[in-house]
Every structure is written in C-alpha cells, then in structure tokens.
C-alpha cells in the first residue's frame, strides 16, 4: 500500500473503532485504541500492552480493516456445557 493510500484508508476509519492492519506477510496488527499509534513518514509505530514498541512500514500493509469490538462472551465459558 502506498503511503498516500495508507493515509486515506486509515483516516476513513472512525476514531473509536478497532483497526486491523493486515500485512503482506499475513501478520495482523490489531489496534484497540488510536492513541497507541503514531503514523509519520510512511511508518506506523504502536505501543504494545507490555510497553514494547513495534512498527511496520505502510508499504508492508495489504489491507486496513475496521471492525466493531466483538463481544467477549465466546471467550468466557464458566463450564464445558455452558452452564454456570
């Protein structure tokens, strides 16, 4: 993705939505909150949950996806049969 296309795709996503950067390598970067990000000079830097800093280049991005935050209910199962 060119930096220009990257900027336009990114700017089109509502500020409170979850952003998924799908890289050409197949790796996905999920950003829950835009304040984790810094985008400048075609480079996207982000802060991970443990404070580690990572980055990728705009040209390594295949797609930018917008998604609502999915509910957690599928991940929380009190018991095997779904009963508490």
């Amino acid at each position: 993705m060119t930096p220009d296309l990257f900027d336009r795709a990114f700017d089109a996503i509502p500020v409170d939505d979850v952003i998924v950067f799908e890289l050409h390598s197949g790796f996905r970067v999920v950003v829950f909150d835009r304040q984790e990000l810094r985008i400048a000079d075609g480079l996207c830097r982000y802060v991970e949950e443990d404070g580690e800093k990572s980055y990728f280049d705009a040209t390594s991005v295949a797609r930018i996806l917008q998604r609502d935050r999915p509910p957690m209910s599928d991940r929380l199962r009190p018991s095997a049969n779904g009963k508490h």
């Binding site: 500020v15 409170d16 999920v30 829950f32 909150d33 304040q35 984790e36 990000l37 810094r38 985008i39 400048a40 830097r45 982000y46 802060v47 991970e48 949950e49 443990d50 404070g51 580690e52 800093k53 935050r69 509910p71 957690m72 209910s73 991940r75 929380l76 199962r77 009190p78 018991s79 095997a80 508490h84």
Partner: protein
Amino acid sequence: MTATELHDRLEPLLDRHPFVPVRVDGESGPILTISNPYRTDLFEGTLTVLHKDEGRRPVAVVKAEQVRRLLPYDELPAEPGCLSYREFHALFRALYRATPFRPFVVELIDGRRFVSAAQGQIGVNGRFAVYDGEPGVGSVTFQVAAVSRVAVVQPVEAA
C-alpha cells in the same frame, strides 16, 4: 470466588472500550494483570492469560477459588505525587485528540519530562507509554503510574 462470580464480574470488564487493564487479586495480594482482553480465556473456572507472541501458550493460570477480587486500573488510587490511571488517561486522551493539536508535556515523578510536539509522539497502551525521541535518540518506555503531571506546553513569548 466461584466460577460463576468470576465470569459475571470479568465479562463486563473485558468488554469495556477503551479497555482498562484489570488487576486480579488473591488472598495475599495481586496475582496477575489482564492487559489484553483477547488473550484472556475463562473455562470451567480457570482463568488463563495467553502469551503475547506465542499463539496459545499460557503465561498465567489461575483458578476462580484463588481470586479474591478484580480491580480495574481506573479504580486504583494514585501513587503518592502521581496521577491516578483515570486522571492520566482523561488528560492524555483529551490532549492527544485535541483539534488543533497543541504540544503537551508529560512529567514523571522522577523528574523526567517528555514533550509531545506532534500527535502520537507519545503513544499509550493501558499501563505503559512510549515517547519517541528525535531521530537517533531512540524511544523511552515509562509507566503511566509514574506520571505526576500532564499539561499543554505554554508558548514562550519572545523578548
């Protein structure tokens, strides 16, 4: 805490947006912190936190009966001389999103100060923040809990 109590207390905390880390306390103090809702599983009363980079590898496993309480970080009190999690994030979010953007400074209790001259020069994820220095200087990671002040940088008038 029973499995049902843990489930019912945890579910709304993991669904918060923006997500706020959750401290899991046992009888003798904190056991672990949940920093990413999507790397957290609860199955048959067993809470599992998964490794950030290594697929499904668990890094912490806790039974419901070991858990005394769940504490979102925005309910924790501030460290002496510092801002609370809630105070910091409210200030930071407002300044990060301000239009037009105005440079702001983040000061730590140890005296260090970081100026965000452009949007995103300081990035925040939950309990941690990263300051991007000038080219060649590198970056600095610091804990939100160590922040004593966040304020707009006042321009200095020329003499």
